[in-house]
């Protein structure tokens, strides 16, 4: 492993250790670059959770090292207190069952919808999600 890759891996480990809730995503919470990342951000925001976010797109080695560390191939990845919670599917499922609020130590919002926040219609192309958020 080259030094740069080691540095990236150490920076990722440090970020996971130092931030109670941290999301590795494509793009930023303000401008997600993938529908799955957008949906996960929307779910965390629906619970009013403060979270750190890391954009993995600037360098392919970030994703490579993250996936090697977490043994999880896809993005986004949500970590809470150092543990991988999951990607978009698991986060959405846990929101719907109320487990996510428990893991995050927050109260589910009153009158919370049963379905996770939907950034696009089910079955819609994930890449169209950003447009829907903008509209």
């Amino acid at each position: 492993m080259s030094t740069v890759e080691q540095q990236i891996r150490e920076a990722i480990q440090e970020a996971i250790a130092e931030n109670e809730v941290i999301l590795f995503m494509k793009g930023t919470p303000e401008a997600p670059r993938c529908g799955f990342s957008a949906r996960t951000v929307a779910t965390l925001e629906a619970l009013g959770t403060q979270f750190a976010a890391v954009d993995i797109l600037p360098d392919p080695r970030i994703r490579q090292e993250l996936s090697a560390l977490s043994n999880w191939p896809t993005i986004p990845q949500l970590f809470v207190r150092g543990e991988l919670v999951g990607g978009c599917d698991i986060v959405s499922e846990m929101y719907e069952t109320g487990e996510l609020a428990g893991v995050l130590g927050v109260e589910p919002p009153a009158g919370a919808p049963e379905e996770a926040p939907v950034a696009a219609e089910a079955g819609a192309p994930p890449l169209s999600i950003e447009n829907r958020l903008d509209s």
Partner: protein, 76 residues
Amino acid sequence: MPTTDELKARIEDAIPGARADVVDLTGGGDHFRAVVSAPEFAELSRIEQHRRVYAVFGPEIGGPIHALSLETRAEA
């Protein structure tokens, strides 16, 4: 380009007793969603269930299979 039938067959061949329903989310042959049930999932956490399915495809996830959205259930 992988097809839904191919993905279904590979999941069902790799995981004993599994049943998979796979849809192509975009029609583009690279964004898929799979609902997978298997008896062995009863022993696994949700994360481990998803890892088990992702492992069927290895580096193809993020490659030719750009996205594979999963729902897993512990049943035969």
